[in-house]
Amino acid sequence: MLWVMLATLPGLVAQTVFFGWGNLINVMWCIALAIGAEAAVLRLRQRPLGFYLSDNTAALTGLLLGLALPPFTPWWVSAVAVISAIVMAKQLYGGLGSNPFNPAMVGYALVLISFPVAMTTNWAAPAGLLNGTPGFVETLGIISMGQQTAIDAYTMATPLDVYKHEIGALVADEVRQHPSFGDGIAKGWEWVNLAFLAGGLALLYLKVITWHIPVSVLATLAMTSLAFGSNQDLYAPLSLHMLAGATMLGAFFIATDPVSAATSHQGKLVYGAGIGLLLYIIRTWGSYPDAVAFAVLLMNFAVPLIDHYTPPRTYGHRKPRRGIAHKSSK
């Protein structure tokens, strides 16, 4: 778990560079809260604190939420997300290893649905746009003020959001005039995603995760966006899908959560493909600009079904043994 946390560092640094101190403050706040919530529940469940906290999984959940939430998310929105993630999605199911859903994404989806304004309008404008980026203290102030909508001066719609809402009326080139795209694919976002990609590759290299889920997610997302996105005036292009939003964070750090993912390699490929496909569908035709949380949670639902149909073939067996055990009635 420590390696996973370390591997998010490049992404966190990139977020801080391009979107200001918001994410860093969120991350620290969420980690602290996650550990606190975990400790409280463990105390209630009369479990040894040190033993269970030392696995760092609560901290990781907090970290992922901190990375995923918009930089200017009010403190109490983050708190709702973290506490529901740890208490409801994780501990109430029996703690680590027993949760059917990805805790961080449960928290994220919960606040996304409950506080859509706070969750969609608080993305910081990339550095260098508008009137400069607020400093650390100022950011801290914005977050702790707890206003649902932060000061407009510092926020800006995300590229995915802009594309989604304006492509109906404008052609691709006009949409691209929006400052959030910058000169490249999506200002700031491309670097954040590349940084997460680098961290993810490091995890692959260290064999902390296997290639199946990330490759499957990215490949499916790429294929669907190539299939539909040939006309940029109607659909967001491949490059935007790959390097904007939480694509890389989701593919390498969120979808790969082993507890709630499919079990066998074959199952992981199916699971990842489902996430990639849902990601594209919700981004394109859904009402939210990004969809990692929904895609992951929906596929979590499908995991038992996937596991049912994708057991590996055991040595000495001609076919994999699908399905469930039949009661031997002798």
């Binding site: 040894p48 040190g50 009635s329």
Partner: protein, 192 residues
């Protein structure tokens, strides 16, 4: 107006016929080979034929369970049997009814052969014909066939039958599950 009613009726009729046909076909094609409930219940009972449940043997008790009797009257089967029966019948497992006896270790009967007078009373009592002998000759228990039902003990006029608990030996030993993952602080709380 009438035509629409006729169409609706016709469509429904056609649907009913089609689905009825499918169901009928499925019932034939995927018919589960008959394993009536009594058989299944009987196969879960330990077959000691001891009568502690109040029925003359396991099968009568199985029939009674199938008719809604309680599943907790079988001491030789104990918790395991109750759980299996609860699973099969999809009901809540109940604790063993102490009225019928308590769960004991697996036992077998052993005849103290020098005291046996050869009365054949135990032979008649044994539900599984596990006692060998004839009148005025010594009897002995075929251990591998003995179900430990106790029924031979009472009839013996000279009390020469012992029920002996089967000690685990090296050939029927199995691995125990790993210790509960209790760690230091847990243990303190468990003790507190």
């Amino acid at each position: 107006m009438w035509t629409s009613i006729v169409i609706a009726v016709a469509v429904l009729l056609a649907l009913a016929l089609i689905f009825g046909g499918i169901l009928g076909y499925a019932a034939e094609r995927f018919r589960v080979e008959g394993n009536p409930l009594v058989e299944q219940i009987d196969s879960l009972l330990p077959q000691t034929q001891c009568g502690q449940c109040g029925f003359p043997g396991c099968r009568p008790y199985a029939e009674s369970i199938a008719n809604g009797d309680a599943i907790n009257k079988c001491p030789p089967g104990g918790e395991g049997t109750i759980k299996a029966l609860a699973d099969l019948l999809d009901i809540e497992p109940q604790p063993l009814d102490a009225e019928h006896g308590i769960e004991q270790e697996k036992r077998v009967a052993i005849i103290r052969e020098d005291e046996c007078i050869g009365c054949t009373k135990c032979i008649q009592a044994c539900p599984v014909d596990a006692i060998l002998g004839s009148a005025k000759h010594m009897h002995t228990v075929i251990q591998s066939e003995c179900t430990g039902c106790d029924l031979c003990v009472d009839p013996c006029p000279v009390d020469c039958i012992d029920m002996v608990t089967l000690e685990p030996d090296i050939r029927n030993w199995t691995w125990s599950p790993p210790g509960k993952s209790i760690i230091a602080t847990d243990r303190q709380e468990a003790m507190a």
